[in-house]
Amino acid sequence: MIDFMRQALELAKSALNTNEVPVGCVFVRNGKIVAQSKNSVNETRNPTRHAEINCIDEVLNYCQDRNIEYRSFFEDIIVYVTVEPCIMCAAALKNLNIKEVIYGCANDRFGGHTVIDVGDIYPNSYSLTAHSHAQEAMDLLKQFYKGTNPHAPQEKVKKKKTKQDEEKL
């Protein structure tokens, strides 16, 4: 059996190399990868471009190219993602009636199960399983957050006016 989580972790690593939050994701249907992607928030300057959202777009393209009705297609998909889907992604995946989500490490900051349970809001519920590669997924995140996000704005700290500045005024 192919280690889909391994593939997701490789994608997360490549995200780290391009200064993106290292999260990777693969969508699997009938044992075959139909979409794979990683976080691209900084590249697109769009904070919603999480790995799962990118994969959803890939599946839509996949379906369009093959003239497949996407709604039923999504219902057979198993999502392998290195970090528990955030509230936004969890809601998107529930709306698509995804079959199953398998994740690496929990998401204490935004998790769609850990922070608030999106499953309470949407009737369709996928099964959600934590996977064994949690430590590896978490280590990647730690590596990222050790550095600072180069795209975040500088802190708007008011500089103390020096005497010289005041004299200028």
Partner: protein, 369 residues
């Protein structure tokens, strides 16, 4: 309807009558501008509603001289961390603990189990109701006096947020005007897209610093399941910052990222409104150029980053996905007209703005109609 007697012949489906959609929009357009009700903030109910109560034991002290030493002893042996808003003393009555603390024991036995010196202090005990949570607004604080003395730290900003004059008349008119433009967008889409039958959701992004419409988008979920108006609006904002992920399905104005024909229509209808965004400058440009003038630095600091500082106007409360997208985008304030009871993420099903563990919190207002 006695549909059972209808012949089984399938008539061609009657197209939903567009005039009714149009009438709804016209009704909203009229309401949004003429309604005089103040906009209302959406926060946790426990801030504005009457406080929930909890049953606790109190003990009556025989000798007033024992009060201070008893309080000290209680604070040491029986601190109640979750009810720190309650004062310990009310005249000769002392708040002891929630009734659930004693398990199978009587309150006398329970106190004795903690410390023998409690034994002779109280001459009687009672079970009373007290506020379970600290009062947040003055009004709630007034209510607590009926039950038990409470500590209260008034929060000026919160008081103002819940008052009817949080926004000045001028600000209020401005918010209503932007909501009006959002509705004009909806009207335009209904008129120009034969596949839209109901009032579509619209998201309008405004930069309050330059009082200008930065981006707009309408719902496209029929063609693409995650292209709700918020998600598209956030992507259009990204496009104003040299980013963006989705390719537009029609020609956009280069400056505003609004469809050309829609923009012309809006400008004609609302000549006093500005459209366009502040110029985006990446931080790195100025980092490499530290010797640059002060002007340069300021513009870098003031460059838009995601939706930081932006106001978002929506016809319908965003769903959970879109609400979280607005958290990720760090929007400053969200305004909406109509509740989304199915899966609204800012009022109806959950209020993301009240989830303390999220790293960004915005303010949410409704009450346009």
């Amino acid at each position: 309807m006695d549909g059972s007697l209808l012949p089984a012949i399938q008539e061609p489906p009657i197209k939903k009558i567009k005039p009714s959609t149009n009438m709804t929009i016209n009704f909203y357009l009229n309401e949004v501008t003429s309604s005089k009700t103040p906009l209302k903030v959406v926060l946790n109910d426990d801030i504005s509603e009457s406080l929930p109560l909890i049953e606790v034991y109190t003990g009556h002290i025989q000798n007033p001289k024992d009060i201070s030493k008893t309080v000290l002893l209680l604070n040491e042996k029986l601190p109640i961390k979750e009810l720190q808003h309650l004062k310990r003393v009310k005249k000769q009555d002392i708040f002891l603990c929630p009734i659930t603390y004693t398990n199978e024991m009587t309150i006398q036995e329970y106190l004795k189990s903690l410390d023998d010196s409690f034994a002779d202090i109280f001459d009687s005990f009672a079970v009373i109701h007290v506020p379970k949570q600290p009062p947040k607004l003055k009004k709630q604080f007034e209510d607590t006096k009926e039950y038990w003395p409470c500590n209260f730290h008034p929060d000026k900003y919160l008081e103002k947020l819940f008052s009817d004059n949080f926004f000045t008349q001028e600000e209020s008119n401005m918010h209503r005007k932007y909501m009006y433009i959002a509705l004009l967008n909806a009207k335009w889409y209904v008129m120009n897209d034969a596949s839209i039958h109901d009032v579509p959701n619209v998201t309008l992004v405004v930069d309050p610093i330059i009082a200008s419409v930065v981006a707009v988008a309408t719902d496209n979920r029929k063609k693409h399941p995650t292209q709700h108006s918020t998600m598209l609006a956030i992507d259009n904002v990204a496009r104003t910052q040299n980013g963006g992920a989705w390719s537009p399905d029609c020609e956009l104005d280069e400056e505003t990222m609004i469809p050309n024909s829609l923009l012309q229509c809006l400008k004609a209808e609302m000549p006093e409104i500005n459209f366009g965004h502040r110029k985006f400058k990446s931080n790195r440009v100025t980092d490499d150029n530290n010797s640059g003038t002060e002007n340069n630095e300021t513009s870098s600091l003031d460059s838009p980053y995601l939706c930081t500082g932006y106001y978002i106007y929506m016809l319908r409360e965003p769903c959970v996905m879109c609400s979280m997208a607005l958290v990720h985008a760090r929007a400053k304030r969200i305004f909406f007209c109509v509740d989304n009871e199915r899966d609204g993420g800012l009022k109806s099903k959950v209020k993301l703005q009240t989830v303390s563990s999220l790293n960004h919190r915005f303010e949410v207002f409704t009450g346009f109609l």
